[in-house]
């Protein structure tokens, strides 16, 4: 597997095909022999901003940090939860098991959820 090509920037889907996020960065951990292995997928604008780097990246990460309203690190999905990788990264769990992205939660609770009809399917 090529991490850059097969993982980074791919769409992550839960077991029902619902979007979870993009693979914004990948975390490696060292094994017993010191050889790194893929430990987790990092999701969220903070991880993305730090990866992009530079002034723009720092700005994106900074905004994401401010919008996340708490000091939680970027969402981390353990690589064990990945079931299959095709044109997307498919997880073996439903997205309810993962923490909801803070921006989504904030907008849902403060903006979109307050408008009548937000619960109606079209």
């Amino acid at each position: 597997m090529l991490i850059g090509f097969d993982l980074l920037d791919r769409q992550i889907l839960d077991r029902d095909g619902e979007p979870v996020g993009k693979v914004d960065d990948v975390e490696l951990d060292a094994g017993e022999d010191g050889v790194p292995f893929v430990a987790a997928l990092l999701v969220g604008q903070r991880a993305l901003g730090m990866r992009i780097g530079g002034r723009l990246g720092r700005w994106i990460a900074g905004v994401a940090l401010r919008l996340s309203l708490d000091e939680r690190p970027a969402a981390r999905i353990p690589f064990d939860l990945v079931a299959e990788i095709d044109s997307a990264v498919n997880l073996s769990v439903r997205r309810e098991l993962l923490a909801d992205p803070p921006l989504e939660v904030w907008l849902r609770d403060h903006v979109i959820g307050r408008i009548p009809g937000a619960d109606d399917a079209s």
């Binding site: 769409q11 979007p19 996020g21 993009k22 914004d24 992009i52 992205p101 989504e104 979109i112 109606d120």
Partner: protein, 410 residues
């Protein structure tokens, strides 16, 4: 039978949905100033959108990935972010132009200034996208857009000078009083009006959301290869009626009321009413598509939940982007910029950003790891590369032509 009806409905919607404010403005302006000497450009643009939409429809159907998802995957987060900024800018400006077009159409039947209509149209647009049965409405507006056929009927009733029109079409070039600069400027605008990126964002996102399978691929191809050329025929009717009425009088077109006049001259009040209804349906339908496309691009770049079929609560970020886009579109119009001029600008910028989304699609359409046997064949590639070249040339030429010709003023 049911399947046949579904296919027929798809084609009819594609025909009516092809025309938007950009096509209306570019074709009528070109027809009035240059006769139909740009007919070949329109043909080229229609072939281009067919190739582009077919590829992205195929990629979306087989791999389940819409356009902007792939843009980031292939170009990386940094380049794709620039790409997102450009595409979003153009799509939101186009949304503004479409809302302005709806306002202008309403002004023609109510005498109420379009600026007073703009906030109303923006609000109704949002309500429609918020909770209405989107697919039903898409079909309603697509089918209503078909009344633009009135321009085809009008053309034959106008008793045109076929010899003169053939002369214009067969010898492309600027007529007396125009130069090559303005000719090519108009050509770029016209090409961009046929080959709009938002159409493809919308089309491929729809394919993913409705979970098309390889079986739907045939339907999608029929929609593209039959619907788009017939839609292009409606656009051509706008050009050729304008060329028949305005070009001999040496009058150029710069308002929507002028575009409708050939229908009135040929078919009276009924023809005029049909033309205005057609403008309304075409621009409102396109406003729905551009509004959604703005939100699609952002959501797909960041990997958020998106879609017109989801409950808004389940796609809060997507719906927030949608609301902001509509607001920005309305605010742009509230600066009192003329919607027709705004349309001209969006066409130029649209030409500039087109290669950024066209290239990744062409590359992925060749990727056997994604598409297996459904990857591009030789013919599709020959066409794809040809249009890549054309799209790049148009993108490079657009801004210099705009400056040199002072927005086509000469």
């Amino acid at each position: 039978m049911k399947r046949f009806l579904a296919v027929a409905l798809g084609i009819l919607t594609a025909i009516g949905g092809f025309v938007d404010i950009g096509d209306i403005v570019a074709n009528a302006e070109a027809g009035a100033r240059f006769g139909i000497s740009h007919a070949w450009i329109l043909l080229l643009g229609v072939l281009g959108i067919c190739s582009y939409a077919e590829m992205s429809g195929r990629v979306a159907t087989v791999s389940g990935r819409p356009v902007f998802d792939l843009v980031r995957e292939r170009l990386g987060p940094r380049v794709a972010l620039g790409n997102l900024a450009g595409s979003l800018f153009v799509t939101v400006l186009t949304l503004g132009a479409e809302i302005g077009g709806v306002g202008l159409a309403l002004q023609l039947v109510t005498s109420v200034d379009y600026l007073l209509w703009v906030p109303v149209v923006g609000f109704v647009l949002w309500v429609v996208l918020w909770r209405a049965k989107f697919n039903t409405l898409e079909n309603v507006f697509g089918l209503t857009g078909l009344v633009l056929i009135v321009f085809i009927i009008a053309f034959f009733r106008l008793d045109p000078n076929y010899g003169e029109l053939w002369h214009q079409a067969s010898r492309p070039g600027p007529p007396h009083g125009e130069d090559w600069g303005t000719y090519w400027f108009m050509a770029v605008a016209l090409f961009a009006s046929a080959m709009t990126p938002y159409e493809v964002f919308f089309f491929s996102s729809g394919a993913v959301e409705e979970r098309w399978t390889a079986k739907d691929l045939l339907t999608s191809r029929i929609n593209v290869f039959v619907g788009f050329p017939l839609g292009g025929l409606l656009a051509f009717a706008l050009m050729v009626t304008s060329a028949t009425v305005f070009h001999p009088r040496d009058v150029s077109v710069d308002s929507l009321s002028q575009v409708a006049m050939p229908a009135a001259i040929a078919l009276g009040k009924l023809g005029l009413a049909a033309a205005i209804l057609g403008f309304f349906a075409a621009t409102f339908g396109a406003a729905m598509e551009t509004g959604l496309s703005s939100a699609y691009t952002v959501a797909q770049y960041f990997g958020w939940a998106w879609g017109k079929l989801r409950r808004p609560r389940e796609a809060a970020r997507f719906h927030t982007v949608l609301i902001v886009s509509i607001l920005v579109g309305v605010l742009v119009l509230m600066t009192t910029i003329d919607p027709i001029q705004l349309t001209e600008y969006t066409l130029v910028f649209s030409a500039v950003v087109l290669p950024l989304t066209y290239l990744p699609i062409l590359v992925v359409a060749n990727d056997r790891g994604y598409l297996g046997e459904r990857a591009n064949g030789r013919f599709a590639n020959a066409v794809g590369v040809l249009f890549l070249a054309i799209v790049v040339v148009a993108a490079v030429a657009a801004i210099p032509l705009m400056i040199v010709t002072r927005m086509g003023a000469g």
